[in-house]
């Protein structure tokens, strides 16, 4: 009698379990990737045999790209890590893509892989660096920006929600329920509501970010974290004897109609403090020092136009050339060592 009475609950449980099993059996990459929110080193990398596919990571997408696990002979493999600025509007227009074109035009057999993901701060960028060092890069370009720390923090908290063993997170151990919860936290239905109502309910991430950005103490903490983690990231790369170029972000700050200046929140100073053997700096404040109309190079305060990407790519190519990174050198160098 009792067994028949609870047949409905048993069915509900069975359906949820079946869905859970099906997803875990047939969509293993999605399971590991979507809910890691950038705190899972494997997120976004799908390896099949000798080939690596870049897919999404934590609700954010890599530009879909494919490359071999091992660096091809005679090739300079450059990997670019960062946020929405190096990611660019598309693979070809972003400065990593432009850099590849310039190097190839100069006769260098270069392979530039764009591993930038929008909103990634230093912590999540570091995870990607840890992962890609296994793919034998000749050079890693780390785009350093300090405007994503709020999001990094928030995503970190979310990752804790999914990974923690606190009783309130137990439901998140289920893929199906966690996916449903993701719909809630990512607020996919929210597009039906006008922006004003979203803001009124303080549920807009951007709004909450703006509020957090007004906290000076929090800002100081974030900046400290950017310094510390960037140092660690550079040390990690150098420990594998791979060269690094740090691109320090600059933002356009308007001071009046049609006027303004570039500001880097001290990131260039951070870069200079790390410069040394195998570590070079490309500061956007210098690359765009003679900036005239902002709209030529900056699409908004931080993101670049295609012309801006091209200019930055040219500056990077010049630095790489100076270091004598030529195709032949790269090919002759031992694997994992600088070209």
């Amino acid at each position: 009698m009792t067994r028949r009475l609870f047949a409905d609950f048993a069915l509900a449980l069975a359906l949820l379990l079946a869905a859970e099993l099906a997803v875990r059996l047939f969509l293993p990459h999605d399971v590991s990737g979507r809910f890691s929110y950038g705190y899972d080193q494997e997120a976004g990398f799908v390896e099949s045999g000798e080939t690596v596919h870049l897919v999404r990571a934590g609700g954010r997408r890599f530009h879909p790209q494919t490359f071999s696990r091992r660096r091809p002979p005679d090739t300079v493999r450059i990997m670019v890590v960062g946020d929405s600025v190096p990611r660019g509007p598309n693979l070809g227009a972003a400065y990593p893509g432009q850099l590849q074109e310039i190097l190839r035009a100069q006769g260098i057999k270069a392979e530039v892989i764009n591993l930038a993901i929008p909103g990634f701060g230093v912590r999540r960028s570091q995870l990607i660096v840890k992962k890609i060092l296994a793919y034998e890069p000749s050079l890693v370009i780390v785009h350093v920006n300090d405007s994503n720390e709020y999001e990094d923090e928030r995503e970190y908290r979310r990752s804790q929600e999914f990974q923690g063993w606190h009783p309130r997170h137990w439901l998140m151990k289920s893929y199906i329920l966690a996916r449903a919860y993701e719909i809630k936290t990512e607020k996919l239905q929210w597009r039906l509501l006008p922006e004003k109502i979203r803001q009124q309910n303080m549920a807009s991430d951007a709004d909450a970010e703006l509020q957090a950005g007004l906290d000076e103490n929090l800002h100081r903490l974030w900046q400290q974290r950017v310094w510390e983690i960037t140092q660690q990231t550079v040390a990690l790369i150098r420990a594998r004897a791979v060269d690094v170029i740090l691109v320090t972000q600059a933002s356009w700050q308007p001071t009046g109609p049609g006027q303004g200046h570039l500001h880097d929140h001290g990131l260039e100073a951070l870069g200079q403090s790390l410069a040394g053997p195998g570590v070079q700096i490309v500061a956007m404040t210098k690359v765009f020092a003679d900036l005239k109309p902002r709209s030529d190079y900056f699409a908004d305060s931080a993101h670049l136009t295609p012309a801006g990407h091209q200019r930055l790519a040219a500056a990077l190519a010049a630095v790489i050339q100076e270091r004598g990174q030529r195709t032949s050198q790269g090919a002759n160098a031992s694997r994992g060592s600088p070209p």
Binding site: M1, T2, R4, L5, F6, A7, D8, F9, A10, L11, A12, A14, L15, L16, P167, R168, L171, I176, L177, A180, Y181, I183, K184, K187, L188, Q189, W190, R191, L192, L193, P194, K196, I197, Q200, N201, M202, A203
Partner: protein
Amino acid sequence: MSFLSWQFPFFLSVFVLLYWRLPHRWRLWFLLLGSYTFYGFWDVRFLALVMTTTVVDYLCALGLAGEKCRPLPVLALVFLPLGWLLTLALTRPHLGISPGMLAAAGLATVLFWGGYTVLWRLPEPTRRRGFLLLSLVFCLAILGFFKYCNFFLESTAAALTWLGLQPDWPTLQIILPVGISFYTFQSLGYVIDVYRRQGPVCRDLLVFAVFDAYFPQMVAGPIERGRTLIPQLSSPRQFQAADLHEGLVRILVGFFKKVYVADNCALLANYVFAPATPLNAPWALLGGLAFAFQIYGDFSGYTDIARGSAKLLGVELVHNFHFPYLARNPSDFWSRWHISLSSWFRDYVYISLGGNRGTAGQTARNLLVTMLLAGLWHGAAWTFVIWGAYHGVLLLLYRFGPLTWLNRKDYASLPASLLACTLMFSLTVIGWAMFRSPTLGHFWSWLMALGNWETVTLPWRSSLWWLLLHVAPLLALQGLTWNRADETKLLDLPWPARGVLYVVLIVLVVSSTAQDQEFIYFQF
């Protein structure tokens, strides 16, 4: 502890498991401990008020039955709330229990003790009235102070200012104890029943203490009657698998109503009823409809969780909602909405005032007074009073005025039935706008906006989809049970359909978009 907190499922699961393993008497102690813990999660200080209500009404009810207790146990009981406050003051100084609070509690204790002692020296009929009065005065004084003190001070100040005087008194910083209106009314109902000899007197203090603080329904109802809940608590109960099943279904439906329906509708309602929002007719209608479904989902959702939780413990709480928006007239509405409160007011206020036994004028007066008080019960604000009056007037219009023809239980044709439902629903939404508006001025703006079809900057069409997205599943669910006595009675469906339905409900609850919001009725 809120039903929405992550602790509640664990608390309830462990509680139910242990509860059924205990002997009957231990279960009662366990229930009392659990109920006080549940309430103490909000504010342990206010447990003193719960204890006061319990002690006062327990002793007064015994007094009404002519049963005099020995002085020493009575003295110990009377000083119990004060002792609790003293213990907290000494052990938890951060709670801020001031000497003034202790002095007030001490004074109340002495006054009650004095009153109780004096009453026993009076002859029988006077003594009975005296005990009833003592209970009413004490319980309503506590309720009045914590809930209405500032309202009356501010209203008096406003009236005096209007008369040209300049009153200068400060507003008191009073925290409204959660659920005070609910447990006070429940306890008072019991005392009145004993006075009227309509309910048995509870001689077991433990049972009565559990009755007053029964955690599933203590903070937001349903308001139980002593004659229905006390016998269930005092008699040993056997675990029934069917109770467990039914309880779980109720809880699931309750969470769906609250988290998926109410909290999402709240986003629109909060926008429309915010003071600075520019409104036109579509937005005013959207806001009114959103609030109608928010308050229904919120309160009936709470009730379902409460009834489900009680059912897990083998107790059947009363129905509190029965498809209220299918009501065809105001009288029908109040027999479907917050049934335990409307029947409380009917039995203890309306009938006490004379009910409909007198002339039409007297009946009208009784109706109006009852509805005004019912409005005031909801909160210390003029919008609630006016809302109560509005429903009083609606009752009169349907009873004596031009809408009498709609005041029928049976309707010959479907169109007539639909017309009656639509009209009553529209009137209800107008009432909810009154209820939800922060001020009467804002309600007036809302009402005027219904005639304004000019465009406002914010587009409303996608918000209508939002509303439909969150109301349609509720209507679909209710379509399955609309002809049942219990809104949550899904057991008539085939079990495979129920299984699939539970999965849908679980996913909707977990994926619900809105921010978690506290139950509306907690503030009452």
